[in-house]
Amino acid sequence: MAAKDSTEIEIDLLLEAIYQKYGYDFRQYSDAHIKRRIMNRMVLSGYNTVSEMQFQLLHNKSFANDLLHDLSITVTEMFRDPNFYRSVREKIVPILKTYPFIKIWHAGCSTGEEAYSMAILLTEEGLMERTTIYATDFNQRALDEAKQGIFSNNLIKEYTSNYQASGGRSAFSDYYTADDNMAIIGQNLKKNIVWANHNLVTDSVFAEVHMILCRNVLIYFKRELQNKVHRMFYESLINGGVLCLGSKEGMYFSELKDAYQDLDPRQKIFKKKY
């Protein structure tokens, strides 16, 4: 193993400081990703070394908040990967229909678009009344935004096209009210969503659920941490429950891959064996 260069050492120390001072543990996130985010913030705020940021991190609360926000990528969309939602309708809904009450955990829900997409889908399938969606993230800023359910008007076109491609049964405009700038998600979609702050790395098992969606979160974790989170998901799912990962995420390296059967391998949907 080659010696670490100074920047890498500084980054290790910065992550250590974030953990000790703020309790967020990024020490097992992918190095290339973390380095990119930290260097981005460094350039944005005009510092020359990561060490200079260390002082700010420890003594300047608003700088620390910005950095923490940078380290969590919140990019998301309504009905992202329409084929995934099509598969939810075709392959998962029939399973969910067999339960009198349904609990769904969206881990890493970011600003909520996925949870709202699911609420729309389940409404159309007649299941929303008996479902609770637990939407969690460790980024409080993102969660606060999610609760509001407000998105910019210029996204409507893209979301509408995603919704249609996903097999939507209605008009997307049925689900929001819009003014000149903003679209607001309908109140009845919010009813059965519970928003909560939960950290996949430092918090423990969340609830006993029928379905877990954790899409485009584990890609940022190193293998060992992925395995740890997979164990937590496994413990949280009921037997026969369904795990949904991002379209480029697999179970390839998970110690638990044999504990699941493929429900739709292309869409990365897995069913916990009985």
Binding site: S30, R36, I73, N216, K248, G250
Partner: protein, 186 residues
Amino acid sequence: MGYEAIVIGVSSGGLNALMKILPFLPENYPCPIVVVQHVSPRSDGYWIESMNRTCNLNVKEADEKEKIERGNIYMAPANYHLLVEKDKTFSLSTEARVNFARPSIDVLFGSAADAYGDGLIGLILTGSNSDGAIGLRKIKEEGGLTIVQDPETAESPSMPLYAISASSVDHILPLDEISGFLKGLV
């Protein structure tokens, strides 16, 4: 000369340009090759299959955490950034577009330069934007070898031109000569 890997960035006109290079590399080519080609976010990668049939090397989409190994040409998946880790594995990211692009050539090249240092070869091909210029400069700074397609031979010359103006690149080559040059290098 001890080169360990090649990264290629290409945008509009990309498929044609790649077809003039990749099929000519032999099965035992010693460097893995990683390609960012700008494609629509909804692309299902159908072109990767057809490319695989015409190449001697194995052409595949890069998987997250996959180990980067010789014998392969890896393509960045649509709508994700592709990064190289120091342990020569891939990471994916859904971070925002960089210069309107996801995957971004700069993101791949920057991380690969960190991982491979002077063992890296960077190549910029045709494209109508400026992605890749900063990444190629970074490869040069880390001691790697930088190559740009001669803009005269590019379907869209912007990307090569930006790359050439951002740093002093080592070689500017007409499209027809690139595969031969890459074969001679390693």
